[in-house]
């Protein structure tokens, strides 16, 4: 019966997609679209660059403004970020920024140029989307970079539009002094949307309190996590096998609370002098953190791995005795699920959306160094306690699937089309 109402054709507007992603947005788009296509949804997925990978579960549209085109040495068009490895042509600034797929890099562009490029993407999506308008029922846009495109397409086609919020400017710049342009784009994008999907109740509250979005218009769809490609291999055999290892993994920005991790290390080391803390990631606070670390006398106890990917990432999470995510404001926090998947007890801040699905993890305030220290010493001292947390987390993960997320998204589609 629901099939007669069911929207099974959607035009999605994205910004990044694995393997060319800087973080959670690309991963979430991958997990969600795969699960949606398995539940019989046809998807057009637009990207602001030419995707080089093989994607079979949906139609990927490269909505590239001609002025961004980058021609490789063999004369073929190649993705912008690949064009800048090795001895290929010099970059244009936006392409350079897209290359890194990093909000922080984008932010560094002159405001007018950033604005300009986001609107060029909107034009390109608008014209390609209009051409295909008989092939989809609604528009589903991921984060602010795609909202101008979504609004344009809605205007062109009259189709309903869903704004999906993976992250807000308020999360990225917790001081509240983020970019006016980005906040305005988020606000206008959500106002213009027929419905809004937030990745957590935490984010929903921000949308209500900071962006004055009508609560009745917002649905919460928690992210899921795909099964690990490499089986978890927890244990101390990977490295540093003679000392407990506590891991932070994320961009080194104020949002992620990496500096609280340093303070936490300082405190824990007073009780467990042999503990090794590993900070994995890169970001604008990197140099500041190194100096803070040295200033606190932690040089040999808190080490920085730099940005890690693939097997190093898995190895680090496999090895970790405790994983800590002290984010100041985290809409979701996929990496906590990855850590849980690899049998590592997780400590999450209350201001992280992922805490809503991980009742088995330890949840504390990001600033509560004392509570985190207590929990870490307890986990390290008591193997049973640690194992209990791991088991409970694995239980939570059973409920945290992309299938479940896709199911909810489909019901949002239905609701949207019914009006």
């Amino acid at each position: 019966m629901s099939n007669s109402y069911s929207a099974n054709r959607v035009f999605m507007i994205g910004w990044e997609y694995p393997p060319h992603n800087s973080g959670g947005l690309g991963v979430a788009c991958e997990g969600l679209t795969q699960a949606l296509s398995q539940s019989n949804t046809q998807i057009y997925f637009s990207l602001p660059y030419v995707h080089s990978g093989l994607i079979s579960h949906m139609n990927v549209l490269s909505c590239v403004d001609p002025s961004w085109d980058v021609v490789g040495i063999d004369g073929k068009q190649i993705p912008p970020f690949q064009a800048y490895t090795g001895a290929l042509p010099e970059s244009k600034s936006l392409v350079d920024a897209i290359k890194k797929f990093n909000i922080d890099t984008l932010r560094a562009l002159p405001q007018s140029e950033l604005e300009n490029k986001v609107h060029q993407y909107a034009d390109s999506v608008g014209s390609q989307g209009k051409r295909l308008q008989h092939n989809y029922d609604l528009i589903h846009a991921h984060d602010w970079m795609s909202y101008p495109a979504a609004m344009k397409l809605k205007q062109e086609t009259g189709k309903a539009y869903i704004a999906h919020i993976h992250s807000t400017e308020f999360d990225r710049i917790p001081s509240g002094y983020g970019s006016n342009y980005i906040m305005r784009t988020e606000y206008e994008g959500m106002q213009a949307a027929d419905r809004v999907i937030a990745v957590s109740n935490y984010t929903k509250r921000i949308l209500i309190e900071k962006y004055s979005i009508n609560p009745h218009k917002i649905d919460v769809v928690h992210n899921g996590i795909s099964a690990p490609t490499v089986a978890p291999d927890p244990g101390t055999h990977h490295f540093a096998h003679r000392r407990p290892v506590i891991v932070f993994m994320g961009r080194l920005t104020m949002q992620k609370g990496a500096d609280y991790f340093i303070y936490l290390a300082r405190k824990v080391l007073k009780e467990i002098p042999d503990a090794l803390f590993v900070v994995a990631g890169s970001g604008d606070m990197y140099h500041e953190l190194l100096i803070k670390n040295a200033y606190n006398g932690l040089s040999a106890s808190v080490v920085f791995s730099g940005f890690v990917r693939d097997n190093q990432r898995e190895k680090l999470l496999d090895r970790a005795d405790v994983f800590v995510m002290p984010s100041l404001s985290e809409p979701f926090g996929l990496v906590a699920l990855e850590a849980a998947q690899r049998h590592t007890p997780v400590i999450i801040s209350k201001t992280a959306g992922v805490s809503e699905v991980m009742s088995g993890s330890i949840v504390v305030d990001f600033w509560d160094i004392d509570a985190m220290t207590r929990n870490i010493t307890q986990i390290l001292a008591d193997k049973n306690h640690s194992q209990t947390i791991v088991n409970n987390q694995l239980q939570n993960l059973q409920e945290t699937t992309w299938e479940k997320a896709a199911h909810k998204v489909r019901s949002v589609y239905d609701m949207t089309l019914r009006g």
Binding site: F239, A294, G297, L298, A300, S305
Partner: protein, 426 residues
């Protein structure tokens, strides 16, 4: 009419190999060489071709052709170790030079470390190790001391005096020397003073740094000009030209004409009968012996009970205040600051140094020779030099010498090495 004292410093650090957080605790880790590629060998071989071979050969030639010529060198233990391992022919060349009796070898720490600032016991040990190595390779016992990067203070002079050395080389730093000439000898401000020779920074750097600088008003420097600058000094004066050995061929490439300049200068200077070459012991040992008599044994006993004095005048000596070079905070020959901020300034450097030297007791207690030697090689001052965040003109010099992309990367890697070292102690 003056005397020229050439002193060349020959050193190569063991740079860290490329190991990561994921190697911490692995028994496969080699701190200083990757299994498949030894960057230290690569650098050594490159500099050997550009500098060591041509300059050592030139020095040998000058000793053979110019009877007045003599010079001094300090060669770090870590250099000699690499030479033995990567290119033993260099050792044979050095042995030839030493055998002439006209190359004075100067004592220092084996590991080119900052131990003098942290641990008197470790300092003494590394000086001993260096002396033993010189004895082993060259059958040579040095009499004069130079500390890493000419780092010097009253406290360090005290340590060095206690080790029985009869003199020291260091930098002439105006904030301590005042307007006194740097071409005289001075005495340390310790209660049993030792005589000192101070580097002539301007004339040394004309060769070491400015020689190929096209923006320099005296570019290109020719022998006649340089001779004029040298000859303004009188016969009682010592022009102490202290520089990196690598000045010849590496910092100043062969195509700048540096080798010909040096050859030509030595001959032209020596032509005049009143010009002389000296080495530090020629100058300092007579002064020392005059002060203390010839009974060194007695002296060392007295010195070992001595302490640095707070007052500017030294009792029980015939020395006057104007003969004393009193240096209260460590100086060096590096950067425009001529202090130790090239190695110890930012928290990155301070903390890694503290941790390194705090490990002394634990490391020595292992009695494990490999661990102890790794720890000592990690003390080589270059590791801390790479972490220098003073991004002025000096920063460029640091960047030139550093194998790392940035001082932060140097710190990150060094910190991982420290974490690994600590792991081996658990």
């Amino acid at each position: 009419m003056p005397n020229i004292c050439f002193y060349f410093h020959l050193h190569q650090p063991f740079r860290l190999s490329d190991f990561s957080v994921f190697d911490i605790g692995s028994d496969q880790v080699n701190f200083f060489a990757d299994p498949d590629f030894d960057s230290n060998k690569q650098i050594f071989d490159k500099v050997a071709q550009k500098s060591y071979y041509p300059m050592l050969t030139l020095l040998l030639e000058l000793l053979e052709t110019q009877p007045k010529f003599c010079f001094s060198m300090s060669i770090t233990g870590v250099f000699l170790e690499q030479a033995e391992c990567y290119d033993p022919e260099i050792i044979r060349l050095l042995q030839k030079l030493v055998a002439t009796g006209r190359l004075e070898l100067i004592a220092e720490t084996y590991h080119h470390s900052l131990a003098s600032l942290y641990s008197p016991t470790e300092f003494k040990k590394q000086v001993d190790l260096h002396q033993q190595f010189l004895d082993h390779l060259f059958d040579y016992t040095p009499i004069i001391f130079r500390n890493t990067e000419l780092i010097y203070s009253n406290d360090i002079a005290h340590l060095v005096g206690n080790l029985g050395y009869k003199g020291m080389l260091t930098e002439a730093v105006p904030r301590y020397l005042g307007d006194r000439p740097k071409t005289r000898t001075y005495w340390s401000h310790t209660d049993n003073p030792i005589p000192l020779m101070l580097k002539h920074a301007e004339l040394s750097d004309d060769i070491a740094f400015r020689f190929s600088d096209r923006n320099w008003h005296s570019y290109p420097l020719n022998v006649d000009t340089y001779l004029k600058w040298v000859e303004v000094y009188g016969e009682e004066e010592y022009i102490n030209l202290f520089m990196d050995f690598e000045t010849f061929g590496e910092h100043q490439w062969a195509d700048t004409g540096i080798f010909n300049f040096f050859r030509h200068f030595v001959h032209t200077f020596a032509e005049k009968s009143w010009n002389n070459f000296v080495t530090p012991k020629d100058v300092l040992v007579p002064l020392y012996d005059q002060q203390y008599g010839n009974n060194k044994k007695n002296q060392v006993e007295v010195l070992s009970n001595s302490k640095v004095m707070a007052e500017p005048l030294i009792q029980n000596t015939n020395l006057e205040a104007h003969q004393i070079y009193s240096v209260t905070e460590p100086i060096s020959w590096a950067d425009v600051d001529r202090d130790i901020t090239a190695w110890r300034d930012s928290p990155l450097q301070v903390d890694t140094l503290n941790i390194m030297y705090d490990l002394e007791d634990k490391i020595l207690a292992t009695k494990n020779e490999k661990i102890i030697e790794d720890w000592r090689k990690l003390q080589t001052s270059d590791h801390f030099y790479y972490m220098c965040t003073k991004w002025s003109a000096d920063g460029d010099v640091h960047a030139y010498f550093s194998p790392h992309k940035s001082p932060y990367e140097a710190y990150r890697k060094y910190a991982i090495a420290l974490a690994h070292l600590q792991e081996t102690l658990l």
